[in-house]
Amino acid sequence: MMGFGPIAPEANEPLFHAPWERRALAISLAMGGTRQWNIDMSRHAREKIPSAQYWSLSYYEIWMEGLKRLLTERGLLDASIKKLPVLEAANVAPVLARGSPYTRNATAKPLFKIGDRVKVRNLHPEGHTRLPGYLRGATGEIALYHKAHVFPDSNAQGAGENPQHLYTLRFKARDVFGANTDDVLHADLFEPYLEAA
């Protein structure tokens, strides 16, 4: 999708453009600590905002709309009060420092190895996916292998982590965009998105 105008980087950009953005960041991260959803569900919640609305919202407005959807879907804004794990102030630093590593043990051996030529499948799933549309059908080469990671397409649906092998593919820009250039581009793609070229 194109036609969004200039990038317009802002000189000396402030970290937040209004005080409410600070609060939006903080309540989003703190609610992540209640573990009522995973990162893939929160990305999917933002993606489910109708397009015309999505493209008209600022970044933290999108976060707030996504958060509202996650809370509403789980009945967390209704009159009842549920007992949730809470991110306490004293735990913020260790929780952030620990992060959430996404590597998992795979059940099968990887199908591809570094240097293999592979083709991106022409997939159009209805739910969440991390396969960018512009790469459907493109052929590239395995550049890096990252072992198995949580598979977002499953995890976003609450269908389990379903670990899948993750690769970085290298594409020639001319193979993807038909451009007359020697530039290359890379994307991190899960094995179910790929087939042997």
């Binding site: 999708m1 969004f4 990038i7 317009a8 980087p9 802002e10 970290l15 453009h17 409410w20 600070r22 939006a24 960041l25 903080a26 309540i27 703190a30 609610m31 209640t34 933002r46 493209w55 600022s58 707030m64 958060l67 967390l76 804004l77 009060i81 809470v86 991110l87 102030a89 735990n91 913020v92 929780v95 952030l96 420092a97 620990r98 992060g99 959430s100 590593p101 996404y102 590597t103 991390r130 396969l131 960018p132 512009y134 990252h146 990671h149 949580v150 993750l166 970085t168 820009a173 993807v176 965009f177 451009a179 250039t181 530039d183 290359v184 581009l185 890379h186 994307a187 991190d188 793609l189």
Partner: protein, 204 residues
């Protein structure tokens, strides 16, 4: 900020979105789902502790210490963690070394994935549709908007962060900096040079 001119309560200066966020925060605190003190710690963390100076230290060390640069190439997550930078949105790191032949540039076309422990919160342009849509198809045009004109011989290598791997660009060390120490060198590493939309050497 919108102002209707005739409000008299505490909220009269707040925009509709600011009011909604305030109401949501109050509700979540009232229900016991968030600890208000944790909110302040979270904000303080990203305002004062985690930001691009972390990444700049990694770059400066890579410029001055060949053994560290080698480690960074082979296992960026461990090499960066050794400097104390780790965690949320930096769990799986790859370092991309710029050379005269190849200039690396990072984007997340699907959302706004960014190496938070090294660079802090992403700038608005990184999260916005113009950059997300054009970085992959027109990287040279994007660089021109940042005032960067690369040699025609320099190949551009774009990295779309579509999974949980996070990328840190190691820009080229500016010329005539042989006499500078690690700390002074870190001062030459601007945030955008670690995303790949600028070069090191000038503040941005």
């Amino acid at each position: 900020m919108p102002h209707d001119g005739h409000g008299h309560d505490d909220h009269s200066e707040l925009s509709p979105i600011a009011l909604r966020v305030k109401a949501l925060e109050s509700l979540l605190i009232e229900k016991g789902y968030v600890d208000p003190a944790a909110l302040d710690v979270l904000i303080d963390t990203y305002e004062t502790k985690i930001g691009p100076r972390n990444g700049a230290k990694v770059v400066a060390k890579a410029w001055t210490d060949p053994a560290y640069a080698k480690w960074l190439k082979e296992d960026a997550t461990a090499a960066i963690e050794s400097l104390g930078f780790t965690g949320r949105q930096g769990e799986h790191m790859v370092a991309l070394f710029n050379t005269p032949e190849t200039h690396n540039m990072v984007v997340c076309t699907l959302c706004s994935c960014y190496p938070w422990p090294m660079l802090g919160l992403p700038p608005v342009w990184y999260k916005s549709p113009p950059y997300r849509s054009r970085a992959v198809i027109d990287p040279r045009g994007v660089l021109a908007e940042f005032g960067v004109a690369l040699s025609e011989k320099t190949k551009i290598s774009v990295w779309d962060s579509t999974a949980e791997i996070r990328y840190l660009v190691i820009p080229m060390r500016p010329a005539n900096t042989e006499n500078l120490g690690e700390e002074e060198l870190a001062g030459l590493v601007n945030r955008d040079s670690m995303i790949g939309t600028r070069l090191a050497g000038k503040a941005a």
